[in-house]
């Protein structure tokens, strides 16, 4: 790939400044920055909530909170981490990087883009407001059903459930708007000469994600709306007494919920190979194989949903089908791992912070994937299901596979976005603290699950005491380490060593041809890709 040079020009009509700049902006970089900032804040909020949980679980007996409040923290932690931390981070990167990577001046639908973002803060408020209302004696707090909303518990629940339903609606609309924008941008605004099969991998990851979002968010929206009408308008979709079925909700929820995990991960799988090729100083291996694997995983992800509730009872053929189809996902995933490792193989590697995070990410996400393969076994899942084993498993995929991937991306692109180098020493310290305390937090949870500790319990029997204590201490180290990350980002935005345009010795792709930071309007003249 080679490109024509782009002149730096930042003229154009004066755009508003101050708060109005951010409220009305249609600039993809401004919107990307807002998404990323929002994501970081919510990551800290969700993290504080779960540290409350880990403090309570530090030892047996209830010390800090009532069980009801405990349940609220768990569910809201998950909704915030998934919908307000991980997804907006991926969307933030999409906004920043997709136009830069495909040589476009901006996203295709800039106003829609602005809306997509500004729906997020209200939904975060909706999610957390019931906590505050409860302090004033209104309602009994936030959603206490876990993030899965299962009826009939969610039908019994208080106003927190309604608030969460509306929050999910707003978040869903935001995601669908963002997805439409990305699809339209990718199909229409690529630089001349950039065929689909020359598109950067990150763009491919997002393209599949966007299709998955558009396919599954409406199902979630439908399901929670049915819940809302069951709660308030006398319908009986999920109530056996009226001819409904509580398990129907689980089918609808996980028809969204399983693809959701790939929605969270595909963007990361997109930029991980880009980081790998940069720091291995050789082009990524198996571009086509990776693209086809993305498609395969996208397609499989919508047909395996019932593995999340094997113990709800299903006919044997259905159990077998969902078991084998789930196992099948390991094949395209193995292709990806193969390509990632082959990209490093016989490269000329150096280990700056983004690369450290990426290598750590491959290993930890690998543990998440392999334990997932074991979970597919229906009979053994009767034991694993809803135990701490599952909690450990999905944190290897979501925290390691999701958040740590995003962190790799932040360190990778921060110099491009701000024009300054971050503090490498602090970056490395952040990596090692995160990786070690993450493992110390979640490895004990595998053993807790095997020993029989159910998830979502506020207090536990004494045989679980030791591992919970280790896990809690490590979780606090993990939480505190993130302050280094925040400090590093802020000080990089404020100043620091000037970053070159290419930033990394081995970096290739259109985004590295622009200045650091890039001009307000990215490519005013379209580059030509050969």
């Amino acid at each position: 790939m080679s490109t024509t040079a782009v002149a730096h020009h930042d003229e154009h009509a004066a755009h508003p400044t101050g708060i109005m700049r951010w409220l009305t902006t249609t600039n993809h970089k401004d919107i990307g920055t807002m998404y990323l900032t929002f994501s970081l804040i919510m990551f800290l909020v969700g993290g504080c909530m779960i540290l409350g949980i880990r403090a309570e679980l530090f030892q047996p007996g209830l010390q800090l909170m009532k069980p009801d409040f405990f349940n609220q923290l768990i569910g809201v932690h998950a909704l915030i981490m998934i919908f307000a931390a991980l997804m907006p981070a991926a969307t933030g990167f999409a906004n920043w990087m997709i136009p830069l990577q495909i040589g476009a001046p901006d996203m295709a639908l800039p106003r829609l883009n602005n809306w997509g973002f500004w729906l997020l803060p209200p939904s975060a408020i909706l999610l957390t407001l019931p906590f505050t209302l409860a302090l004033f004696g209104i309602g009994d707090g936030a959603l206490a059903t876990g993030w899965t909303f299962y009826p009939p518990l969610s039908i019994q629940g208080g106003i927190g459930v309604d608030f969460a339903i509306f929050a999910v609606h707003l978040l869903g609309i935001s995601s669908v708007l963002g997805s439409i924008n990305i699809i339209v941008t990718l199909f229409n605004m690529r630089a001349p000469g950039m065929t689909l099969m020359k598109m950067p991998m990150f763009a491919w990851g997002w393209l599949i994600t966007a299709f998955l979002l558009i396919a599954t968010i409406p199902v979630l929206a439908g399901a929670v709306t049915m819940l809302l009408t069951d709660r308030h308008f006398g319908t009986h979709f999920f109530d056996a007494a009226g001819g409904g079925d509580p398990i129907l909700f689980q089918h609808l929820f996980w028809f969204f919920g399983h693809p959701e995990v790939y929605i969270l991960l595909l963007p990361v799988w997109g930029f991980i190979p880009q980081i790998l090729q940069t720091f291995s100083r050789k082009p990524m291996y198996g571009y086509k194989a990776q693209v086809y694997s993305f498609w395969a995983i996208g397609a499989l992800s919508v047909v395996v949903w019932a593995h999340h509730f094997f113990t709800a009872g299903m006919p044997v053929p259905a159990l077998l089908y969902f078991m084998y189809s789930t196992m099948a996902i390991s094949l395209p995933l193995a292709v990806l791992f193969f390509c990632w490792i082959k990209t490093m193989w016989r490269g000329s590697m150096s280990f700056e912070t983004p690369m450290l995070f990426t290598v750590g990410w491959i290993i930890l996400f690998g543990i998440g994937g392999l334990t997932g393969l074991v979970l597919a076994d229906v009979a053994a899942d009767a034991q694993y299901h809803n135990s701490y084993f599952v909690v450990a498993h999905f944190h290897y995929t979501l925290f390691a596979g999701g958040i740590m991937g995003i962190m790799a991306g932040v360190y990778y692109w921060l110099p491009k976005m701000t024009g300054h180098m971050y503090n490498e020493k602090l970056g490395k310290l952040h990596f090692w603290l995160t990786a070690i305390s993450f493992n110390l937090t979640f490895i004990p949870q595998f053993f807790l699950g095997l020993a029989g500790m159910p998830r979502r319990i506020p207090d536990y029997a004494l045989q679980f005491a030791e591992f919970n204590m280790i896990s809690s201490i490590a979780a606090f180290v993990l939480g505190l380490s993130q302050l280094i990350f925040v400090y590093n980002i802020i000080s990089t935005i404020k100043g620091g060593k000037k970053a070159s345009d290419q930033v990394w010795e081995g970096a290739e792709g259109l985004e590295w041809t622009l200045s650091s930071p890039p001009p307000y309007h990215s490519f005013s003249e379209q580059p030509i890709v050969k």
Binding site: G61, L319, H385, A461
Partner: protein
């Protein structure tokens, strides 16, 4: 509040670190299996874990080799990849995927298939049927009787026995007033008032249902767990092959008491099981005799206090103050202070007896859970204690009549 919390934390930390017994309890794998299902699960789990651990280590080793050898700082120059082109290269590229295919669908897939078939075979060869009902936040067990095969095997028929099983850990240990007591006989949070009793070696078909929200009946050493869905019957089975006491918990989030509905099962050898069944049946006939006699107010109140604290206090609180707005107070409540019976001697709709028998919204119906004496006693208690003093009594015979 905060001060107390800090004090508790440091006290318990001290306790945990200095108590050798506590530190001896953790484990690294599934607990000892005691049913064929759990044994199978343990084997499958161990095997799969070894396989995935092997995959992990091999791949990690390759990666680490590369991380050490192929780094810039040791002067390694990047060597461009080329796509596999010759037949041999393509063969070697495909080998890992062939191995994975084999692992997924043969080495793991075939044993998994057999386990599923075994797990779902709840009816064949079963000796007896047990109904398990989950309610917020207790389990109710009802023996539905023997199958043909159970009778042939000379299993004592327990049909008709039913009871409720509640957590029995003292409140002050749970709310942090005192540190949880480490008593192996009555483990913290894993002990109940009435244990489920099952005969050793008998295949028990379990019918699972719920009266309110989803619950999940789970004993780790049994290897089976099944969701209890209100309005539906789900099935599973256990066959406990070793006498002993086994403990588990609800594992589907079911509200604020989710962490507080343990399962405790006593597996007894056939003879002891028989003795237990006989004793239970005697108690049932005594209770129904008790239902026909006239009770004094004092006896009813004394009995009612026990019933209340076992069954009602989770929601309405021991003091009767409730937890408004979710759970109303009994003290001074309209229903507990207004008449129960109308002119014709029948109970009134929305009266105290109606509410307790039939429930409404979140308030459970107790008619299938408590017997006549217990219902009469708890109502009498609520009306004449907890700050109420209506003065009347409800006799078991009246409850019996009301059920018709």
């Amino acid at each position: 509040m905060l001060k107390q919390a800090i004090r508790n934390l440091s006290l318990s930390l001290f306790f945990l670190l200095t108590s050798p017994r506590v530190f001896a309890q953790y484990s690294w794998n599934f607990p000892e299996p005691v049913t064929p299902m759990a044994l199978d699960t343990l084997h499958v789990h161990n095997k799969f874990m070894l396989i995935v651990a092997a995959i992990f280590i091999v791949v990690l080793a390759i990666m680490i080799y590369s991380l050490i050898k192929h780094r810039k700082s040791v002067g390694h120059q990047a060597v461009a990849d080329k796509a596999p082109s010759t037949a041999v290269e393509i063969f070697w590229t495909l080998i890992p995927f062939a191995i994975l295919l084999l692992i997924d669908f043969v080495i793991m897939g075939i044993p998994a298939y057999h386990s599923v078939v075994m797990m779902e075979d709840t009816r064949n060869e079963s000796d007896m049927v047990l109904k398990v009902t989950g309610s917020q936040w207790r389990w109710q067990y009802e023996y539905m009787g023997n199958t043909e095969k159970g009778n042939q095997n000379g299993l004592e028929d327990a049909k008709g026995i039913k009871f409720v099983s509640n957590l029995s850990t003292p409140q002050e240990q749970m709310d942090g007033t005192i540190t949880p007591v480490n008593d192996p006989e009555r483990p913290y949070l894993l002990d109940v008032d009435n244990r489920l009793v099952l005969p050793v070696g008998a295949k028990v078909r379990i019918l699972m249902t719920s009266t309110d929200v989803l619950h999940n009946w789970w004993v780790p050493q049994f290897g089976s767990s099944r969701l209890a869905v209100p309005g539906f019957i789900r099935e599973t089975w256990v066959q406990v092959d070793k006498a002993g006491t086994y403990r588990g918990q609800c594992k589907e989030l079911c509200g604020k008491g989710h962490g507080y509905m343990p399962v405790v099962v006593d597996a007894l050898p056939k003879e002891e099981y028989k003795a237990w069944v006989v004793a239970q049946k005697e108690a049932i006939s005594e209770a129904s005799a008790g239902a026909d006699k006239e009770w004094t107010k004092e006896d009813l109140i004394a009995q009612g206090k026990i019933v209340y604290e076992k069954n009602c206090a989770v929601c309405h609180q021991v003091s009767g103050a409730g937890l408004p707005p979710a759970f109303p107070a009994i003290t001074g409540s309209k229903i507990s202070n207004s008449p129960i019976f109308g002119e014709d001697g029948k109970y009134l709709p929305d009266s105290h007896l109606d509410r307790v028998l039939n429930g409404i919204r979140v308030m459970p119906a107790w008619k299938a859970v408590l017997n006549d004496t217990e219902i009469a006693a708890v109502i009498t208690y609520e009306r004449n204690a907890l700050g109420n003093s209506v003065g009347d009594v409800v006799q078991p015979a009246q409850v019996k009549a009301a059920r018709q």
